[in-house]
């Protein structure tokens, strides 16, 4: 459960991290967008004004007869080519002699110029005195020609709905988009990007100082940025939540199965759902059965058989192994009790989990059950895996106690752990069970086949009996006998049998 929560927290953390990263990128992109807008507006305005001045110079240098057909045509061509130019006029002092754009006679003579340049350019900024219709125009005059620009067309880039921009030339406001937008004056801002937290706005200032000193201020509401990205964020969040939920559901389903299995096991233990089967152990020389290893089998209600290598670890994880071992003991004594009483030389091997060695529970159970069955401890041999011995050093005493009572101890799956000779010596053991892997290797010429003699030698020097597991061929059996291994079990002799079948087997051998 904890694991699940930690995992979910981890996924949440990951999604948050991704979300934050995406946000930062978006904010950065937004800021860049605004800066780029300001820059582009500024550059466009500058190129327009430069071009206009050049145009006036060219018109003044024109040698055609003033107000002739070709002169007017020239003015017309130039005006049409530039959508921001509303009119071009030719003047003599304060009289507009001819021109294009305005209705004849409607000449603008604003009373006060905004700026008179040393090079002769006179400029009038947009204002009530330069209004034609509803547009206030920007007028430039050089020599005898002048032109009128619609400043709104200086900022012709379509701004996003929540963006506002303003153009200042020579520190005087030229145009804004939208028309009535209130923008902070450029000299109150630092060049570049400013974030105004109080008003929740992003402001960009871009300045140019080549022909005409100009500033562009572009502004947008941060809140609007949130609005724009909120859909993306919302979608991402929803997706994230959906994925997480899906994942959680999958995990839950899996764990439910996992948990339900445990529940079933618990139930099986209570209701005799776990069965015992017996694999005969054979004396390799005589060929006669001298005992058996009891193995647990679990058949679920739906008919599915669960192998011990699955449900035993499960049981161990959920502290049910003690119950399983006890269950096996009870089955053994019930199934083979009479057999054991009639055949004192017979032993049944009971597997102990390493967890069984952690407390006295199994020792007590053995005592109680054997007494009840009227059998000596010597009837039950205890099998402990090599790994179990290695992991549970503290069981030394327990083993000693059990042995003193009369139980024989066998070390199971030998060769798969890392124990040393001296380590083994420190325990009181009786039998060594040779792992199936080594027996299999007898057929082939695998490296382990060269290890077996050493193991056998070691067992002999420790005065341990040997039982070979998983004998499947005569060849293996012969090799083992010739090498001093006297007992074995495996499919060559018999697969694990039910109680009745085992009794029958025993009587026949």
């Amino acid at each position: 459960m904890i694991v699940l929560l930690i995992a979910m927290a981890g996924v949440l953390g990951l999604i948050s991290a991704l979300g934050w990263y995406a946000w930062q990128k978006s904010v950065g992109a937004e800021e860049k967008r605004l800066s780029t807008l300001a820059e582009q507006l500024g550059q466009r305005a500058e190129s327009i004004l430069t071009d206009s001045r050049t145009l006036l110079e060219d018109l003044n240098n024109n040698t055609a007869q003033p107000c002739s057909q070709s002169h007017i045509k020239r003015m017309q061509t130039e005006a049409i080519a530039r959508p921001y130019i509303r009119a071009i006029g030719y003047w003599r002092a304060v009289e507009r002699r001819c021109g294009v754009g305005f209705i004849q006679g409607a000449a603008l003579t604003p009373p006060k110029a905004s700026k008179i340049y040393p090079n002769g350019v006179v400029a009038w900024w947009p204002g009530p005195e330069t209004a034609v219709g509803d547009s206030e125009l920007f007028i430039m005059r050089l020599g005898d020609h002048d032109l009128a620009i619609d400043p709104r067309l200086l900022i012709n880039r379509s701004l996003a709905s929540e963006q506002r921009a303003g153009l200042w030339v020579e520190g005087l406001l030229m145009a804004t988009s939208p028309t009535n937008a209130q923008l902070p004056a450029p000299d109150t801002l630092t060049p570049g990007l400013t974030i105004d937290r109080e008003q929740d706005t992003l402001v960009a200032r871009f300045s140019l100082d080549t022909v005409f000193p100009m500033d562009v201020v572009a502004e947008q509401s941060s809140r609007s940025f949130l609005a724009r990205y909120s859909t993306t964020l919302l979608t991402a969040t929803i997706l994230g939540i959906l994925l997480m939920t899906l994942w959680a559901l999958v995990v839950r389903a899996l764990s439910k199965r996992h948990l339900s299995l445990i529940g079933e096991l618990r139930s099986a233990l209570e209701h005799e759902g776990i069965e015992a089967v017996y694999q005969p152990i054979i004396n390799l020389e005589t060929g006669r059965c001298c005992g058996a290893e009891v193995l647990a089998r679990w058949q679920r209600v739906n008919g599915e058989t669960i192998r011990p290598d699955i449900f035993i670890p499960l049981a161990e994880q959920h502290h049910l192994i003690g119950a399983v071992t006890r269950c096996m003991l009870q089955h053994t004594l019930r199934d083979c009790g009479e057999l054991l009483r009639d055949n004192p030389d017979l032993t049944i091997n009971l597997n102990l989990s390493p967890l069984d060695l952690e407390d006295n529970a199994i020792a007590e159970a053995l005592d109680v059950e054997l007494t009840r069955a009227g059998l000596p401890p010597s009837a039950i041999k205890l099998e402990i895996t090599e790994r179990g011995l290695l992991d549970h050093e503290g069981c030394r005493e327990l083993i000693s106690t059990l042995r003193q009572r009369g139980h024989r101890i066998a070390i199971d799956d030998f060769g798969t752990g890392y124990s040393s000779l001296s380590y083994l010596e420190s325990f009181e053991l009786d039998t060594l069970k040779l792992d199936k892997a080594f027996v299999d290797a007898i057929e082939t010429h695998a490296v382990t086949s060269s290890v077996i003699p050493h193991i056998i030698e070691m067992a002999r020097s420790l005065k341990l009996d040997m039982v070979a597991e998983g004998i499947e061929s005569e060849h293996q059996a012969r090799w083992l006998t010739s090498n001093g291994v006297h007992m074995g079990q495996g499919y060559l002799y018999s697969k694990p049998l039910g109680a009745a079948d085992f009794i029958k087997y025993l009587s026949e051998s």
């Binding site: 003047w91 003599r92 002092a93 304060v94 003579t109 604003p110 009373p111 006060k112 110029a113 008179i116 340049y117 040393p118 090079n119 002769g120 350019v121 006179v122 005059r141 050089l142 020599g143």
Partner: protein, 207 residues
């Protein structure tokens, strides 16, 4: 176009002043008469006098007239010439040093060329009264200074006439050292004071 005025004196030949009498002045005597005044207050009267509708500007176009004219004049200005737009007129200040040799009222060639260019603009912007004032520094005899400054102003006027500016538009006055610009105790200041100021006054109708 002639302006009819009173209390003015035509230019007299003052033999006693030697150099002051220049070729231009003689030409003036022969052909055109430029009005000379001795008191600035007379200028005001002159400015108001015109009735000819072709010679005046409507009041709402005056500002524009001055602005555009200033730009034109500034564009052709050169060393020793300063163009200044004032509230209701334009002033072109010619440095005395650049315009005349010491003690002479004979124009230097470079200044003549500039005056020619100015004349072109003045003829385009013909709705002006052109008031030429000569100024000197405080050194020397005051009467001499007044005479010299008037002579120099007249010289400028005559040259403009020779460049086809209508003489009737011109009014000339010698201030002497009456209106200094700079401090007469320093040479720099005195140089500043020696100047010709050409004032262009738009003739406004309905005033």
């Amino acid at each position: 176009m002639l302006l009819t005025v009173s209390a003015c004196t035509p230019i007299m030949d003052r033999e006693g002043l030697g150099d002051i009498k220049s070729q231009d002045t003689r030409r003036a005597e022969a052909s055109e008469i430029i009005t000379v005044i001795n008191d600035e207050r007379e200028l005001l009267a002159l400015r108001r006098q015109s009735d000819d509708p072709g010679s005046i500007i409507s009041p709402d176009a005056v500002g524009y007239y001055l602005d555009v004219q200033t730009a034109r004049l500034q564009a052709i200005a050169q060393e020793g010439v300063a163009v200044e737009k004032r509230a209701d007129h334009i002033a072109i200040v010619l440095s005395g040093q650049e315009s005349f040799a010491v003690g002479s009222s004979s124009l230097k060639p470079e200044m003549r060329r500039h005056l020619d260019k100015l004349a072109v603009v003045m003829n385009e912007y013909e709705k002006n009264l052109i008031f030429i004032g000569g100024h000197s520094d405080s050194s020397g005899d005051p009467a001499y200074n007044i005479a010299l400054s008037q002579g120099r102003a007249s010289a400028v006027g005559q040259h403009l006439v020779s460049s086809h500016v209508a003489s009737g538009r011109l009014v000339v006055m010698g201030f002497g050292d009456a209106e200094p610009l700079g401090d007469n105790s320093s040479e720099l200041g005195r140089a500043k004071n020696r100047r010709i100021e050409i004032e262009l006054w738009p003739l406004i109708g309905g005033e």
